[in-house]
Subunit: 304 residues, 2 copies
Amino acid sequence: MPSALIVGSIALDSVETPFGKVDNALGGAASYASCVASLFAPVRLIGVVGEDFPQEQLDALAERGVDTSHVERVEGGRSFRWAGRYVHDMSQAETLDTQLNVFADFRPEIPPEWRDTEIVFLANIHPALQRCVLEQCGGAQLTIADTMNFWIQGERDELLEVLRRVDVALLNDAEVRQLTGEPALIPAGRDALALGPRYVVIKKGVHGATLLSADSLFSVPSYPVAEVRDPTGAGDSFAGGIAGFLAATEDVREPNLRRALAVGAVMASFACEDFSLRGLWDVTKHDVRQRYDELRQIALFDPL
Amino acid sequence: MPSALIVGSIALDSVETPFGKVDNALGGAASYASCVASLFAPVRLIGVVGEDFPQEQLDALAERGVDTSHVERVEGGRSFRWAGRYVHDMSQAETLDTQLNVFADFRPEIPPEWRDTEIVFLANIHPALQRCVLEQCGGAQLTIADTMNFWIQGERDELLEVLRRVDVALLNDAEVRQLTGEPALIPAGRDALALGPRYVVIKKGVHGATLLSADSLFSVPSYPVAEVRDPTGAGDSFAGGIAGFLAATEDVREPNLRRALAVGAVMASFACEDFSLRGLWDVTKHDVRQRYDELRQIALFDPL
């Protein structure tokens, strides 16, 4: 089966929400994305951890079919740590502390035998590193890149290089507005498309996600979870669902991208229901199918 | 054919947006809603204007099948006037001036022969007046009520009485959170349902709308207009589309409510494309069908 290559952060998160807190729990964009993607397809993970990183966390990913053999462990180094808190409607994290540690010197090197991996997901890292990976992965069928406000503001030129090269750009609603200077959401998405990617995916949190291409537009609602306990990693789980599903289905045409976004929305819903990756480990394909079918019912209306 | 009864404000609006401005143009919730609803079904309009109100505006509505014979004209009175401006992403109006004038003493009286009108839409007016109309319209198949933050805060008990009696409550996302004190959108919608209405419709602007009932959930995206020139009246056009379509189709079951919301979303898109009601007058059923079909394509994704 085709695989998904995932490049990004592996972290220890301390998170507080109105529903509880965790300390030094497994986190990081690549952890969420690879845990999710591995439900659908073999995953190849590129990242870095410190000497302090619990091996059992990597082992748990490996047991799911995530190849962690190229996760670098820096002797004497400390893992990337993030601490944050969510209040009220939990739509935005307040960062309390960020310690890049070994992640500050992360230089993703893709082993030659992984360079033709079918689906590549570049989680949010410095756009110069994303570009470097894209250049190494010329054999991919589809490349997907996430980013964040920090790079849009501070590394705009590098990010524009990534957007010229990548197939799918993932942005949240604030980011696509910031990137393009266009306040209206869909026009902003169209402006982002003009920067190079074949597809732009706008992540809208509780409002779902929108997929734009030159000649199509698709909107999927979010799956209505009874209780969002910790939204950390929802966007990365969404991306991991897209990457894993596309690898498993071996079809990167637009109708299947729509299905992938819906799978991503479902995976994001599981991620939100508990802290760290706890909401994800035990999800089965049957669970996914059930929520996917519900999502189709939510979006359904008859012809006139 | 069954009719829609619409009760609410008829105003003269002065509006400024980044795309231009109008002075003393036709406005008011009931104007938008009745103009839109009359594309689908006969409309009975209840409202009040002053001596200064241009008769040709009422005549234009009457030509579309809006019965304006019970629009009260107060001799020597001045019409309700609103002035507002939208900036940046135009998601929220800044009110510059409100002159209630004759609207301050508006006491809607439903003529006996209109009291069994099939579909009733109560636009945003004082909830005590909404209740008064609901009590007069016991023969309606479906009643729909809009409201606003002002009443949620200041006339909560009266509003709760309305919610106990009405079939469909229309609220925007901020209002449903304010009403229920629940920050999460869908849970807030469920809490609002518990206050009495059979259906809650959450209006989410560019993010579309959501319909909740005890046993179903439906989300429709907004129609992607190329350029929002003036969002005034979008929510009222949405409601007018729902009311008119339900009257015309004589079916108030949930699947048809879904279709009505999609029609409403389409009508809101036309309203946004120009100032005052200019985007609405010339819309044909063919135009509606075309955007409706596009909206279905936007929401479409295949089974797994």
